[in-house]
Amino acid sequence: MSALLSISQLSVAYGGIQAVRDLSLEVAPGEMVCLIGANGAGKTTTLKAISGLIAPQAGSVHFDGQALTRLPAHEVARRGLTLVPEGRGVFPRMSVVENLMMGAYTRRDRATIARDLDQVYALLPRLTERRAQLAGLLSGGEQQMLALGRAMMARPRLLLLDEPSMGLAPLMVQAVFDIIRQIAAGDVAVLLVEQNAHLALKTCARGYVLENGVVTLSGMSADLSANPAVRQAYLGE
């Protein structure tokens, strides 16, 4: 099967600091892939470069056969690739519904938007009760759900998730990952960035390990989980 997302030899630098070097990665349609690594490994940087928030130094990003490299973020978003940023990035002074509708900003199909909104509420009942509330007043877990729901409203073909478990209690992490799996079951491909390697490898079929901006290992999650180096560095054994 040809890849939905295909990154080749991507390098990103901040001024003189090389954050990501020669990174190559693929995600097939509907596939769940994780990118794991320690703090500062370059995970967020990679997602930002894919989604057009920062311009890469070198390398290319192709989505569905089209080059995304150097497109601004709003153009990338319009092509069906949605990033849920680190820290959720809900609009704090907008209500829950308004946040969800921002997800559908580029869409014009009113009828299907309304149907998708109902679907999001069905999947995220906590949001239904709070639809008129300001997003800034939601709990961290609720904000993460809102960010996921908002991403769904864009009807993406690829979802980029940056540490959705960050700062959440274990039960809430479970709930959030259940939702992610349900979204993926609807034929949405997922590229998941996580520090919680155990959870990421359990959720995704394949994974990449990033160390100091370089991919050092990649393969099926089962193989990575069995790899002694991964077990020692990321699974706490």
Binding site: G87, G89, F91, M94, Y105, A154
Partner: protein, 309 residues
């Protein structure tokens, strides 16, 4: 004549003009955290351009109804100011988007000076009179008097402000503006072309400024290349009074400032036993600005919302 009611009417009329200008400051601040000090000069340009058109038309076709002539002046001044706002954003502010905050502030002051000088070169240093083309009717209510011009200013200002609220609350552009104000980066991830939204904010603010400029010159009967300075400073004070970045705040702050000025000018003579006269009117705005900055820096309606994120 009822002095109190008269001051109330004068204050509301003046205040609605301040509010229109204050909205431009507050919209730009809300989205960029930038104080566009050139905004007062855009108001001045609106007044000057419309007066140029009105003056030319009044000469060329003396028979035309005044309202039509005024409409023509507005119809030219509004797009000119919109283009000016667009140009200023593109040339003076966008290249400095990631520069330290002092840089665009200094640029803003530079742009003001440039606009003043352009206006001075085109129209000279003298006061330009507003031709007597408008109906001069006055109406008595409860012992106070209100002119046709005042009624027109009030009605138009209220209509414009209601339209603006609708646009910001209900339209796609309005939602994109609010999203951009809260997080430029996340808005762009939603597919919002942030540069376009920022440009639109300048354009809308400049259109309001153009109308306000025409109102001021019609109200006082004259325009001047330097008029934007004081007007801009007052409107900025009004925006700070209401809570800069907050649309409702700019409207409230504008109206309050108009009332403070009008009542202050009306009663200052009595209060100081004739020591200070009504020509101290212009000072009140700055007392208000200082008092707000000291006692409630976020303004009357600023920082209402507790933010968790």
């Amino acid at each position: 004549m009822d002095i109190f009611l008269q001051q109330l009417i004068n204050g509301l009329v003046l205040g609605s003009v301040y509010a229109l200008v204050a909205l431009g400051y507050t919209m730009v601040y809300g989205i960029l955290e930038l104080i566009n000090f050139a905004h007062g000069e855009i108001t001045m340009m609106g007044a000057m351009v419309s007066l140029a058109v009105i003056g030319a038309l009044a000469l060329a076709a003396p028979g035309l109804p005044g309202v039509l002539v005024l409409g023509a002046g507005l119809a030219v001044a509004i797009p000119v100011c919109m283009a000016l706002g667009l140009l200023i954003e593109r040339v003076a502010y966008r290249p400095l988007r990631h520069a330290p905050r002092l840089a665009p502030l200094i640029t803003a002051i530079g742009v003001s000076i440039i606009l003043q000088n352009i206006a001075m070169l085109i129209w000279g240093k003298q006061y330009i009179p507003f031709p007597a083309i408008l109906p001069q009717g006055r109406h008595e209510i409860l012992g106070a008097s209100i002119s046709d011009t005042q009624i027109a200013i009030l009605v138009l200002a209220v209509l414009i402000m209601m339209t603006l609220i609708l646009v910001v609350q209900k339209t796609r552009l309005g939602r994109a503006m609010r999203a951009t104000a809260q997080s430029r980066q996340v808005a762009s991830l939603m597919g919002v072309d942030v540069n376009r939204v920022i440009a639109s904010t300048f354009v809308i603010g400049s259109a309001l400024a153009a109308v306000a400029g025409v109102m001021v010159s019609a109200y006082y009967g004259l325009a001047h290349y330097y008029m934007g300075f004081l007007l801009g400073l007052k409107a900025f004070s009004a925006a700070v009074l209401g809570g800069i970045g907050n649309l409702g705040g700019a409207m409230l702050g504008g109206l309050l400032l108009g009332l403070i000025e009008s009542f202050g000018a009306g009663y200052i003579g009595d209060l100081t036993g004739g020591f200070l006269g009504s020509h101290y009117q212009d000072v009140f705005a700055f007392f208000v600005l200082i008092a707000v900055l000291v006692f409630r820096p976020s303004g009357l309606l600023g920082a209402r919302v507790v933010e968790r994120a």
